[in-house]
């Protein structure tokens, strides 16, 4: 098949006009061939925006409990996946983890709180990478979980008494740069393992001006430029390799509007339009 044929096939798959047999064949091909899977993803991006015109329809209220049941069937421990705490156990606190696990199992009876509790456990365990202060208030844990959180905190304190320092952060992080509650203007994705930074432009470029990206860290007296954001959709500034993982992880990222070609002084001269911090986007694979 010619290149064009593969692309047309991916397109028709996304549009939905293929037969059951053809759809199966496409899915098998996509599972084997990442290039072809990429074509499907590209078509999902091209055509996927059509969903914006579909009128929302409220599903029956009992659907949520059925979804929860399905998840419980497939994955009984779903609400309590705590890879970080388990990892700490390998460093010598195994006994405490068993106690914790037993207590946790008892707590699971409080069905309403289970999900929030799992989150509270992660939170209380002092996981460096989990930074709830970075979440907007809208997304933080509801107030009624505070009591549970305190109880859990006490138990977890014991578990995480391990001699070794916390492992360095790794994995993929994302920062959404926006102004106030406005729409996102730039999306940053950081691969900490490779020290690479990708900026996706969501807001259009301004004529005669440049958007410049800055790293703001309390380790430096002034913001450090990470370079200009190009006019295209994606930019990969090379400057991140110069910083260590903890700095990258803790920094605030900001975009200022500068004269064309960037700040003439090396410090932001124009208004800082958008800021954001990194949150973990793609966690490392769960430990066995």
């Amino acid at each position: 098949m010619a290149d064009e044929d593969f692309d047309a096939l991916a397109a028709e798959y996304v549009l939905g006009t293929l037969t059951a047999e053809e759809r199966d064949a496409v899915e098998r091909l996509a599972a084997k061939d990442s290039g072809f899977a990429g074509r499907i993803a590209a078509w999902e991006r091209r055509l996927g925006t059509l969903e914006a015109m579909v009128e929302p329809v409220e599903p029956p209220p009992e659907l949520w409990s059925r979804i929860r049941e399905r998840i419980a069937e497939a994955d009984p421990e779903a609400a309590l996946r705590l890879p970080e705490v388990v990892a700490a156990a390998r460093n010598g606190a195994a006994g405490n983890v068993v106690v914790l696990a037993r207590r946790v199992r008892r707590w699971r009876g409080i069905a309403v709180l289970t999900g929030a509790m799992a989150a509270a456990l992660v939170l209380a365990a002092g996981i460096e990478r989990y930074r709830p202060d970075l979440l907007p208030p809208d997304l933080r844990l509801p107030v009624e979980t505070k009591v549970v959180e305190t109880v859990v905190e006490r138990v977890v304190e014991k578990v995480v008494e391990v001699p070794q320092p916390a492992p360095p952060p790794q994995g993929r992080f994302v920062a959404v740069l926006q102004r106030d509650a406005g729409a996102p203007a730039f999306l940053l994705t950081v691969d900490l393992d490779r020290r690479t930074l990708t900026v996706r432009r969501v807001t259009p470029p301004e004529a005669g001006k440049s958007h410049e990206l800055w790293l703001v860290s309390d380790r430096f007296p002034a913001p450090r430029s990470l370079g200009l954001v190009g006019a295209g959709e994606f930019t990969r500034p090379p400057a991140l390799a110069a910083y260590d993982a903890a700095t990258i992880n803790g920094a605030t990222y900001a975009i200022s509007l500068e004269p064309e070609g960037g700040s003439p002084t090396g410090a932001p001269t124009g208004p800082v339009l958008f800021t954001g911090k990194l949150v973990e986007a793609v966690p490392p694979p769960p430990r066995p």
């Binding site: 939905g16 993803a41 579909v54 979804i67 989150a119 793609v282 966690p283």
Partner: protein
């Protein structure tokens, strides 16, 4: 900072960064985040699948599968490659179309419980607040001849097969095949190269 707002029971669509955050939390196994994600997206996903399946029981089944897949697959969501809602809609829509095609011998239209859902495609002009991406896509679709515009929109919104499209447009299925291919490649050309 984002404004605090009650989400219970309402289906206000969250902004893309809010959904990205929720998906990241879901990838960690956070059930509370999953509940919020569901509350924010259920009506959009249900709207898409019920339009395609036109049966509540089937739509229900597809929604269960879709959210199960979202729960397990949230870690695979890549905010650089897709918007969160597009990603979720694609999961639900693919399941709906798979189910529809598998059942195609038993004609859904003739079954008694079939729901009344308008089969016309949503009218682009009647919608406001469309973002730049969809405006570009609609502009590109708008460059196609009228019958091929209808073809693409009916296929997307109603999940119709080539046979169903052929019947609706009273056009031989081979012509439909040719039109689909040509239309999609023209849309790609228009989107990618203006």
């Amino acid at each position: 900072m984002l404004p605090a707002s009650g989400y219970k029971g309402c289906h206000r669509m969250l902004t893309p960064p809010e959904l990205v955050w929720l998906l990241a939390a879901v990838a960690k196994g956070d059930e509370a985040a999953f509940a919020r994600l569901y509350a924010a997206t259920r009506a959009k996903l249900y709207g898409v699948v019920v339009r395609i399946l036109r049966r509540e029981d089937l739509a229900d089944e597809v929604m269960q599968e879709a959210y199960l897949k979202i729960w397990h697959g949230a870690g695979q969501f890549d905010p650089l490659r897709a918007s969160p809602i597009t990603w979720m809609v694609a999961i639900a829509r693919n399941r709906a179309i798979d189910l529809l095609r598998r059942r195609s011998e038993a004609s859904i239209e003739e079954e008694p419980e079939a729901m009344e859902v308008a089969t016309d495609s949503p009218d682009p002009l009647a919608r406001r607040e469309l973002n730049e991406e969809i405006q570009r896509l609609l502009a590109c679709i708008g460059r196609l001849p009228p019958e091929r515009q209808r073809l693409v929109l009916l296929a997307y919104y109603n999940g119709w097969s080539r046979d169903q499209l052929a019947a609706e447009l009273e056009t031989p299925v081979n012509t439909i095949k040719t039109w689909l291919r040509r239309s999609l490649l023209e849309i790609r050309e228009c989107l990618d190269h203006g």
